[in-house]
Every structure is written in structure tokens, then in C-alpha cells.
Amino acid sequence: MIAARTINFTLNGAPVTADVKPHHNVVELLQAQFGLTGARETCGQGLCGCCTVIVNGLAVSGCLYLASFIDGAEVVTVESLDAGGKLSPVQEAFIETSAFQCGFCTPGFVLMVTQLLDEHPDPSDDQIKHYLTGNLCRCATYPEVMQAVKLAAKKRKGA
């Protein structure tokens, strides 16, 4: 058996410690040791976006990101967005525009749209499509996601 090693990182703002083996990825770590299931492994190839987490300010595919590599990093997951029980503008916009069906890919979309609006507060259609190319939705709620992004942009400006 391969030995585990201890890593320290910041998870949604709180310092945490975990024992990880070299083959563990971030999704497994979050699910098995922290009970966070918002990041999910679907394709296992970093193509669908269901496993999206933010590491040091950058959205990454948690299914390809080895857990060992987040030693010392700042990790943010979807579970942090409604801190204090208040939904983020992006989350509100997804609900109001009904921008999901089964919801399995939704946390990945929500995180990616949050990062999109951080970078481009007023994105064009092309920017939205380009930015979200790495997020797939098998229920194909793309038109609704487009509306959600625009509504969220408005909400954030108003906030």
C-alpha cells in the first residue's frame, strides 16, 4: 500500500489538514474527507466541467488535479458561495432563469460563470460561449445559461 502524506491547505477560507495518497484527486478528497459533493466526477478527463473547483483563484478540473498539489493552496468550492445562507447573484440568476434541469453540472457552471463575471463584468455572447466551452450540460440548458449569465451580470452591477 502506498503511504499517505499530510497536506495543509485553505478550504473555503478555513485552514484544513488532510491525508492524501499520490493517486487521489481533488474531487475524491473533497467528497471523502470533507463531505463536499458539489464537485463531481463525470467524464474523468477534464472535459465536462462537473468537477470544477477554484485553486489559487483559477478554475481547474478537480478530477485531473491531484490532491497532493493543493498542499499550501487556497481552494474554493461551490459550497462557499452561499455563505451565511445568502445565495450569490449567479446562483440567484440560475434559479430565476431556470438554467438547469438535472443539476449535476450546475455547480461547475456556477463557479465558472462567477469567474467569467469577475474577469468580464459585462460579457458578450461570444465571450460567454467561449468561456463556457469547457462546461457541458447533457440536458442542454445552454440558452437558459446564457440568460442566467446576463441576469447575474446585471445583479452584480446593482449590488
Binding site: T37, G44, E79, F100, F104, P143, E144
Partner: protein, 767 residues
């Protein structure tokens, strides 16, 4: 009459309102529960060793090295399974599928052995150490070959006994046919012989997959006193029945719990991983989780590939007088629900056209590939692809306008469907006209020039809902006046929880948002046939409405009992206090629904009452074809459906655009590649699905304002209907643009370019 109200919701304010989804907050915060990410204490993980040959006798399976891996709890084959389940075969139509391969393997990827460990990585590693020796047998892959092949996938057929039209196949030998549905109306041969114009075409569809983003997952927790399964299933009631049968137990000792589903599209129907998870938990005497990887989805269930040979005779006035449909369904190695797909779609194989002489043969066939099942349309998209391409080809050849040709032949309200069922609430012509209107069909159309050529096309389709099926619902009013709904319809993204809550709210005059929809749990939620075939809103909708009406009547009786005057506005909670002296008690309403039905007559397949309702849709596409690359861009896609009264217009629109876009993937690029039975593209990198850039430049979605007279609040299902016409609409548009006709899906750039070159007399060489 007592007017029992609370929170003063307006009458008529619940149905027809775009209520935000009840589960929205859980989904956008990542907190919604799915089986695939669920854990239970003490649980083992199972990983599967799968067949590498398409058809073979198992000579030996060597598990010794796997068993020695530290951390492996058990390595299990069918011999172990048989010790706990003596007859380890399951399936909805045939008991043909072994829990693990039993003596033979019948497709590449069939599970042969399972490894259990607390650590899924250890189980995975141990699987790599298992070896098997097979005596390879000749295999049959093609559905047309399967009909006459001397290679038989099964030695003996074993119908489950559930369906009357399969009983004659009991113990059948030397056949791959798992059902032959026939319809005979009028005299096809005579009418065809006499027809002025004769047409004969063959169409094919490829093997594609559901690919739910939550792959299949089941956790079984067996105890000698009862078993609980947490499972990603579209049909908890069926799973319970089948698990109870395998155990020889009463159903009340079997509990099936289903949280939200990371979608299903038909892929999680009936019984999938549940029997295996049960067996593994019985052997390990612990909870066991079986959860597929994305790659393993390619070995679980797919859509039916289909070959459709269609012949039509047309008279000199452009009236279709005879039609023959021969439909071959590639069912794969195990029947799953293929025989039902074969029959239920088969009866509409001749399309939404009024034809006096029709002959339909629809064959479910076993082959040595991954099993096929229902996928968002129960076979109908494959049929529409063929008959609406065929319709356009005939119009083109007869130099008739494709609109007028259809108008001359389309079925109309009050007329007879092919089955002799009188057509009611089926807006075929209206759907077509709405598409044409949205596409400005009568206006001049820019056909492009130079390299880019433009074209447009459309199609119209009909489907009969699977009938007869039963749903049961319970509405529970608590003493504080709050309301919970217990129903077995699984919300896999289609928004059923929200729609059902709206129906309860409408009857009880309360806000839909305040209704609690209880999670599926067969210990609590009553029977439902399954979340499939667009049946739930209609069938469960009726049951829910009846349950709510029953509760309302009981509340009125309670009001009378405590001496409230007629028309009293007393809040419900005060009613309970008056009756029970404190906040105590419940009012429980129940409802059950099963529609009337006359089974198709043996021999002719005809019936005066073959379906509870009709689904109708039409779609139109405008495309730009790059004649140098074969690339097709969808400039505009119009989707029009008749779904009766939309209960939740926003959710209806999402169902329409989502269904159409999914079918766009099946039309333009999705294909499971097989080479000698081996899947060669079992990953998302090699099997493309629609993304943001694949959506049409313009997409319009329309739900016609049509009332379903026998539906709950005038409603009917909308889950599948938008998929029907997308493929032929695009193929017809490509023909309009560049004059080539494609008869096999997908319509990818290579296929289009090859056809363009062939038409120019400069065909490309085969690969």
C-alpha cells in the same frame, strides 16, 4: 360548501405559472443529493472485470492474483452469486440478463467478475489482475443480419411473463427475435401494385448513448430482515418488484430510495445495476456501492440502432394509398425494454398520415453489442427520421410542394389513426403550420452562393403514449395546514416535482412553493409504473389531482363535523384544533389512475383505443452547407410541440429546447464506434456531445395552446416530443441546399462531403 383556505392563493394561480423549480436552491448550491456521490457507513466499493470478446464461452476465470491484493475483501463470479440467488437472471421483458456472465459472454464489456474493497482504487487495481479465457464464438452485430443469422445470441428465450404479447416466445430456440409486432390495415399489396408512383427507401440510425452526467450508481444494503437500495433509477416501483422476485420475498421487505437523478433520458429505467449490487451485498453482508465510470456507460445501455425499410404507393393526385414499414431494432445482447420499444413505437411507424393500406413489421433483435433501451422517444425519433425523410424524397421526385404533399395526406382531428383509434387532441397540421409560419416559409429564401449553400426543411411527427400504465399518489395535510405530496415520479431534471406541486396547489388553493414533495422511497411513496415515455405529467398528474381532491373533500367533511357553516373560510390549522383540541391529526387523500385501453388485436395490430394521448411535434431547420468541407451550420431551428396546457411554461420551454438540442447531437455527430464488437470511442474525448458552440444560431421553441381534453388541467407530457423531427428537418434542409440525400445518421461533415463528391461524379475512396 366550505371554502377551506390558507395563505389565500388565488384560484387558478398555480397551474400555468412558471414556478421556479422547488429543488433549485439545492442544485445551485451543490447540495442536492445524488446516488453517485452518496456514501453509507461501512460501505464497500465494487469494481467490475468485463468481457473483452463479443461472444464466447467462458473457459476459465482466474481471480487468484486479485484475491491476494491487500485490501481486497472479495472477488465474486456467478458461482458465488448463485449461492445467494439461485436463479440470477433479471430484466423487464425477458429474464435474460445474468447478474454476472454465466457460462457465456454476449457483448464486449459484459460484467464477468466483481472485486470488493473499502478503497475503490484497490478494487480497480485488483480487477486488472483478473484473467479470463474464452472460446470465441461467431458474433452477430447488425440488426438485419440478426433476423436470418445462424448465430444465436441466446440458446433459449425466457420471457418475463409480464407482457402478453411475448408469451409465445417462451422457450423459443434458434432465433434472435425478441418480438415481432405486426399491423395490417387494408390490403397493402393490392394498393401498392395499383399505385401510379412507387417509392422504396432504406434508412439507418447509429448507436448513440444517453450519457447521463451522473453515471449509473446503486448502493445495496442487505440484511436478512430486509434490504434497502439507494439507486439512481427512473422506476423505483419496478426495481422493488424485481428485487423481491430475485429474493423470493414480499415487496414490503424491499425498500428502494431514489434521490434526485443526474438525468436519465430513459437510461436508468427498469433494472440496471440493482441486481448486481444486491447480490454483492448479500455475499459481503455489508453495504456495497456499484458506481459506473463514464467509460462504463458505453457498456450499460444505449439507444437502438435501427434499419427502416419503407415503401409507399402514391396515386396520380399525390395521395399516399399504400405504405409498408419494415423496422429492424438492434436490441443488443439483452432485451431490456427493447420489445416494448418495438411494439409501442411500431404502431406509429407509418407516421401522421392518413393511409388506407398499411403493413408494419417491427422486429426486436438480439445482437452481440451493448444492450439497447429507451432513449427520449421510445424509438419514435428513429422512425420519424425515416418517414419524414421519405416524405420529402417523394415530394421532390413527384415535383410536389413538400407542404402541400403533407397537407394532402396528414391525419386530421376526428379521423382514424392507422390503428383505427379516432384521433383527438393531436394538432398535427397546426404544429406544421406554426413551424412554417415561424420560418417565413412562403417568403423568398436566400439559397446562398459560391462555397456556402443554404437550404431549409421540416418534418411532422406523432407518438402514442405507452398505455396502459398505473400511477398512485398520496396528499397529506398536516395539522398546521402544510401539505406533503407522496408520488413515485422521479425528478431527473424534467421538473416533475414542481409541476406536481402546482397541481396540488391548484386543487387545494395553496402556493405550489409551499408543497413538500417527498423524496422517492418505496416504503413511503406509493406505486408508479415508471418515469418514462412522457407519461408522468398525465398519469401521475391525474393521480395527484385525485389525491388532492380527495384531501379537499375530507377537509370539507372535517369542517362540517366541527360545525362550520357552508362556505366557511376557516384556516386549516384552526379546523384541526377544533376537531382534536390541539395541533394534531392528519387528513390523507389518495388517488389512483389507469387509463382505458384496448390491446392491439393479434394479427392485425389494430385497436380502437390504443393510447391515452397523442404527442405531436414539428420542427424546421435552416442550414448553411460548406460545399468544400461538408460542414453544416444550423442557422435556425424551430421546434413546435403540442403538449396540451403547459403546467409550467418555463419548464416546458426548457424541455423543448433541451430535447431538440440533444437530438441535434444524435443528428450531427454523436456515434458509438464499434469494430468487431469493440467500442473504440468510449470517452467524452472521443464521443462528442453538444456544447455551447453547437447550439443553433437561432432557436425558437413553441408550445401550442392546445387543450388535452382528458388530461389533468388539459395537460400532457413534453419530455420527448421535441426530439422527433430534428433529424429529418436537417436532412431535408441539406438536400434543399446541395441536392444530396443522406439516409444514415449522423450527418457529419464527412458524410455530407462524400455525398457532395458522389453527386459530382467524383466519389471519395472508402476508408
Amino acid at each position: 360548501m366550505a371554502k377551506i383556505t390558507q395563505d389565500a392563493a388565488k384560484v387558478g394561480a398555480q397551474v400555468g405559472r412558471s414556478v421556479p423549480r422547488l429543488e433549485g436552491r439545492d442544485k445551485v448550491t451543490g447540495r442536492a443529493e445524488y446516488t453517485h456521490t452518496m456514501r453509507v457507513p461501512g460501505m464497500l466499493h465494487a469494481k467490475l472485470f468485463r468481457s473483452t470478446v463479443a461472444h464466447g464461452r467462458i473457459k476459465s476465470v482466474d481471480t487468484s492474483a486479485a484475491k491476494k491484493v491487500p485490501g481486497v475483501v472479495a472477488v465474486i463470479t456467478i458461482d458465488d452469486v448463485r449461492k445467494v440467488i439461485p436463479d440470477p437472471y433479471y430484466g423487464p421483458a425477458f429474464h435474460d440478463q445474468p447478474i454476472l456472465a454465466d457460462g457465456k459472454v454476449r457483448f464486449v464489456g459484459e460484467p464477468v467478475a466483481a472485486v470488493l474493497s473499502f478503497d475503490p482504487h484497490i478494487a480497480d487495481e485488483a480487477v486488472q489482475l483478473i484473467t479470463a479465457e474464452y472460446e470465441e464464438l461467431p458474433a452477430v452485430f447488425d440488426e438485419v443480419d440478426a433476423l436470418t443469422s445462424k448465430v444465436y445470441v441466446h440458446d433459449v428465450l425466457k420471457p418475463a411473463g409480464t407482457f402478453a404479447d411475448l408469451k409465445h416466445l417462451k422457450n423459443a430456440k434458434d432465433t434472435n427475435m425478441a418480438l415481432d409486432y405486426r399491423l395490417r390495415r387494408g390490403d397493402f399489396d393490392k394498393a401498392y401494385a395499383a399505385a401510379a408512383h412507387k417509392f422504396e427507401h432504406e434508412f439507418k440510425t447509429q448507436k448513440v448513448l444517453h450519457l447521463p452526467f451522473e453515471p449509473h450508481a446503486t448502493i445495496a444494503d442487505y440484511k436478512d430482515t430486509g434490504v434497502t437500495l439507494h439507486t439512481a433509477s427512473q422506476g423505483p416501483s419496478f426495481v422493488r418488484t424485481e428485487i423481491a422476485r430475485l429474493l423470493g420475498w414480499q415487496e414490503n421487505k424491499v425498500r428502494i430510495k431514489v434521490p434526485y437523478l443526474g438525468s436519465g433520458y430513459g437510461g436508468k429505467l427498469y433494472i440496471k445495476l440493482e441486481a448486481l449490487a444486491l447480490a454483492l451485498s448479500m455475499i459481503a453482508r455489508r453495504p456495497v456501492k456499484v458506481a459506473l465510470t463514464f467509460e462504463e456507460l458505453f457498456y450499460q445501455i444505449t439507444k437502438h440502432p435501427c434499419t427502416f425499410r419503407i415503401k409507399s404507393g402514391v396515386d396520380k393526385d399525390g395521395k399516399i394509398v399504400a405504405r409498408k414499414c419494415e423496422v429492424y431494432w438492434n436490441g443488443g445482447a439483452y432485451a431490456d425494454i427493447g420489445p416494448r420499444v418495438t411494439q409501442k413505437s411500431g404502431l406509429t411507424a407509418s407516421g401522421p398520415y392518413d393511409i388506407d393500406n398499411v403493413w408494419i413489421d417491427s422486429y426486436a433483435l438480439y445482437t452481440n453489442v451493448t444492450p439497447s433501451g429507451a432513449l427520449r422517444g421510445f424509438g419514435v425519433p428513429q422512425l420519424v427520421w425515416a418517414y419524414e425523410s421519405h416524405t420529402d424524397m417523394m415530394a421532390r421526385e413527384l415535383k410536389l410542394d413538400p407542404v402541400e404533399f403533407r397537407r394532402k395526406n396528414i391525419m386530421r382531428e376526428g379521423g382514424e389513426h392507422t390503428t383505427t383509434h379516432i384521433l383527438k387532441d393531436a394538432a398535427c397540421e397546426k404544429a406544421m403550420d406554426t413551424v412554417l409560419e415561424r420560418m417565413n416559409w412562403s417568403k423568398p429564401f436566400d439559397k446562398g452562393k459560391g462555397v456556402i449553400r443554404r437550404g431549409r426543411g421540416f418534418g411532422v411527427a406523432i407518438k402514442a403514449v405507452i398505455t396502459p400504465t398505473t400511477s398512485v399518489a398520496i396528499v397529506n395535510v398536516s395539522a398546521d395546514g402544510s401539505v406533503a405530496l407522496y408520488c413515485g415520479t422521479v425528478d431527473m431534471g424534467q421538473g416533475s416535482d414542481t409541476a406536481m406541486a402546482q397541481m396540488v396547489g391548484e386543487v387545494l388553493n395553496i402556493q405550489a412553493e409551499s408543497v413538500r414533495v417527498v423524496q422517492r422511497d418505496t416504503d413511503v411513496t406509493p406505486y408508479d409504473m415508471g418515469t418514462l415515455g412522457s407519461r408522468s405529467l398525465f398519469h401521475m398528474g391525474h393521480a395527484v389531482k385525485r389525491a388532492a381532491e380527495d384531501a379537499r373533500e375530507k377537509l370539507k367533511a372535517l369542517a362540517r363535523e366541527v360545525g362550520e357553516p357552508e362556505g366557511s373560510n376557516i384556516p386549516i390549522r384552526e379546523l384541526f384544533v377544533k376537531r382534536y383540541g390541539m395541533q394534531a391529526g392528519n387528513v390523507i387523500g389518495s388517488g389512483i389512475f389507469k387509463p382505458d385501453y384496448i390491446p392491439p388485436a393479434p394479427g392485425t395490430g389494430l385497436s380502437k383505443n390504443v393510447t391515452a394521448f397523442w404527442m405531436v411535434s414539428s420542427a424546421g431547420a435552416e442550414v448553411s452547407v460548406d460545399t468544400e468541407t461538408g460542414h453544416v451550420k444550423i442557422d435556425k431551428l424551430v421546434n413546435v410541440v403540442d403538449c396540451g396546457k403547459p403546467i409550467n411554461p418555463r419548464i416546458v420551454e426548457t424541455q423543448i429546447s433541451g430535447g431538440a438540442t440533444m437530438q441535434l447531437g444524435f443528428t450531427m455527430f454523436e456515434k458509438m464506434h464499434l469494430d468487431g464488437g469493440q467500442v473504440t470511442n468510449a470517452s467524452l474525448a472521443d464521443y462528442k456531445i453538444p456544447g455551447f458552440h453547437d447550439t443553433p444560431t437561432v432557436m425558437e421553441n413553441v408550445a401550442l395552446e392546445v387543450f388535452q381534453s382528458n388530461g389533468p388541467f388539459g395537460a400532457k407530457g413534453v419530455g420527448e416530443v421535441a426530439t422527433f423531427c430534428v433529424s429529418p428537418a436537417i436532412a431535408n434542409a441539406i438536400d434543399d441546399a446541395v441536392g444530396v440525400r443522406l439516409t444514415e445518421l449522423p450527418l457529419n461533415p464527412e458524410a455530407v462531403y462524400r455525398a457532395i463528391r458522389a453527386k459530382a461524379g467524383k466519389p471519395l475512396e472508402d476508408e
